[in-house]
């Protein structure tokens, strides 16, 4: 059973939830400490994040750059609007493909759940079309490994 849920809400939102076996403080740190973020926010097999800059303060900026080691890469930039250690992060981000995608407004909550954490990430896109484009194509990069696995199964 997967611990992750991903669903659309209303016309412009996507909500992801996931439980972790660590307290909110640790999960929050793993989202704001660049040396930790670089270890897990990687997408498909073979991709790395050589650049991870995080100014973890309201108004601070961040930049993530991914490379697949075969000459392909892309990056995301964003700004933090609110940071409430260790319970809540609000930020905006956009992906460069290479043109910037419309801003994705993201609220991430870390709620204590027994001895662990329930993370709730609520993405709000500017309009229904942008959300549709993100769901249909924007996350495609993350799909490559899944496709490879799917092909292996057929």
């Amino acid at each position: 059973m997967s611990k992750l849920t991903l669903k659309t809400e209303g016309d412009t939102q996507v909500v992801v939830t996931r439980r972790f076996a660590a307290p909110p403080e640790a999960v929050y740190r793993a989202h704001t400490d660049p040396t930790l973020v670089q270890k897990w926010l990687l997408g498909p097999e073979g991709w790395t994040m050589p650049v991870c800059l995080i100014e973890a303060r309201p108004g601070g900026r961040f930049r993530y750059e991914w490379k697949n080691g075969k000459g392909r890469g892309f990056h995301i930039t964003g700004e933090y609007l609110e940071l409430e250690p260790y319970s809540r992060i609000v930020h905006v981000e956009r992906m460069y493909l290479p043109d910037p995608t419309p801003d994705n407004h993201i609220e991430t909550r870390f709620d204590a759940d027994g001895t662990g954490t329930l993370m709730t990430m609520r993405m709000t896109l500017p309009d229904a079309q942008t959300r549709a484009a993100m769901l249909a194509t924007g996350m495609e990069r993350g799909m490559e490994a899944s496709y490879a696995r799917l092909e292996g199964m057929i």
């Binding site: 992750l4 016309d11 992801v16 972790f20 793993a30 270890k39 229904a128 079309q129 549709a132 249909a136």
Partner: protein, 117 residues
């Protein structure tokens, strides 16, 4: 993926609440345009317009029965969308499985520090 399905069009089609309601109705069984228009305060041409978007996206199919054109869910299209969302979940899950390991590492480091004290 499924030939009748255009994912871009399918997700755009789903962005509209009326179209989602139409799909929910069709999930219960076949219906004519008139039957579909009934619960909405909309004209039949307006509903037909929404149905066209859903048909173009590969989510709704029609058959001919005399003068009627009853619509039904295009099961293959809806299943393909489900599959796509399942793959998105899977890709995200890979990241979070790595995060589980990072968190376990943090916990271990903390325990070690505790032991030294």
């Amino acid at each position: 993926m499924n030939e009748g399905l255009n994912l871009d069009a399918a997700f755009s089609a789903l962005a509209d609440p009326t179209r989602r309601a139409i799909l929910a109705r069709l999930a219960k069984g076949e219906a004519t345009v008139m039957e579909l228009a009934e619960p909405f305060e909309m004209t039949q041409p307006a509903i037909s317009q929404h149905l066209k978007v859903l048909e173009d996206a590969g989510l709704v199919a029609r058959r001919v029965e005399g003068t009627k054109r009853p619509r039904r869910l295009a099961k293959a299209g809806v299943e393909a969308m489900d599959q796509w969302l399942a793959m998105l979940r899977k890709a995200l899950e890979r990241n979070y499985e790595r995060l589980d390991e990072v968190l376990a590492g943090l916990e271990q480091a903390k325990t070690k520090r505790g032991e030294k004290r």
